[in-house]
């Protein structure tokens, strides 16, 4: 049975760098995908992922074992992504005046096209709402886990998630996006 995250952290702190490799292996893809969904740029997601792991490594002594490692690393990913977005010029908002029929047929999308269309729409959400959609729908976190990651109460998690879904749904309808 593979050791849990907290055991790996402890071993890493004892000088076992193979333990960090295991954490890297376990979370590399998750962190990269989370960052990619948050910033919609592969290159920037790479930078963010590198930053996240360097910060994790440099600050392992500060990790509080009372909390879950995954919530800590996800929190760093979210904060790094939001810091990055705050520095980046905002994306252009959706042109509300353009009827969806004039944006080209997006219906019956599949695979990469669908992913890109959804991602573009996701970028129209404010980062708080985007974060919660990403954590729930692309990473499968529970309300409690999202509360731990974002350090907010479960009630607020639900409120943000429900509002975020409604906004995302409305944006997708306006852009004529739905899956086949």
């Amino acid at each position: 049975m593979s050791p849990d995250d907290e055991t790996l952290v402890r071993r890493c702190l004892e000088g076992d760098d193979q333990a960090f490799d295991e954490l890297l292996e376990r979370y590399e893809r998750k962190v990269f995908n989370g960052a990619l969904r948050m910033v919609n740029s592969r290159e920037d997601a790479l930078d963010i992922t590198q930053n996240v792991f360097l910060k994790v490594y440099q600050n392992l002594e500060r990790f509080n074992a009372r909390y879950k490692f995954f919530s800590w690393i996800y929190r760093i990913m979210v904060n790094e992504s939001i810091n990055f977005l705050n520095k980046r010029k905002p994306v252009d908002p959706v042109d509300e005046s353009l009827p969806s029929s004039q944006r080209g047929p997006l219906e019956s999308l599949r695979g990469v096209e669908l992913s890109e269309a959804v991602q573009d729409t996701l970028m129209q959400l404010k980062p708080d709402y985007r974060t919660i959609i990403v954590l729930r729908h692309f990473h499968g976190h529970s309300y409690r886990e999202m509360g731990e990651i974002l350090e907010i109460r479960e009630e607020m998690v639900k409120s943000r998630l429900f509002s975020g879904r409604k906004m995302l749904r409305d944006l997708m309808v306006r852009r004529g996006i739905h899956s086949s």
């Binding site: 000088g15 590399e28 590198q50 440099q58 959804v118 639900k158």
Partner: protein
Amino acid sequence: MTTERYIELIHGEIDGVNTPAESAELQKIVRDDGAAREFQEHMQQLAGTLDLVDDVEAPEGLRESIRAGIVPRAAASPHPIRQRVFSPAAGFRLAAALAAGLILGLLAGPWVFDHEVAWNPTDFAGSMTPPVNGSAVPQLRFDRDLVSGTVQLVEEEDRILVTFDVSARAPMDLIFDYDFEKSIFKGFFRREGAFDADTREGRFVVSGSGEFAGTLALERTDPSETTVTLEYRRDGELLGTEVLRTGTLE
């Protein structure tokens, strides 16, 4: 049946958290209520669409580049050197960041050490510490029956940073009131200690006991003078108030 109830049940069903009784309740609602049924269809369709979005593989070489940027713990310096291998522009950005950091350190260093502020740019608890390059008002120290600590306001051209370092001998709410017509809450950094934090228009509330510290960032939307008021409350009872005032930025 309220709209709020069916909205909660529909989201709960999508998230798989409803009890059998709640699922049955929802079934009955959507059978009888067209609006609820339509909302459920919309949310199910959204969840179905999101399910179809593919995860992507981490790029080849990412793991190696992270490893390469890390000095092994046994020989680690406080600031391991990071190697970037993906972007040709990354080297220039790193150099610029290091230069900016050096300048910032030269500017901020004497002030930090002179004032014994509990602010360490490497402090980190799951968040990125924002750079400080503004002007600071004198640090305010407070010492009341159940709560003591420091709070400081740092002004920058486009934002205000409020740092606090608190020792509470009983569960306490610290309420930072700011003028939301002059500033917008942008983030919370440098979290230390266990506490809850919540924000709503014009108000940032920290609830906890023991030692805790953090920094909140407000974006300025108006350069004129503004204040941040700190209240301490226990079980709703006001125990004390501090007022921090910015200057007027040119």
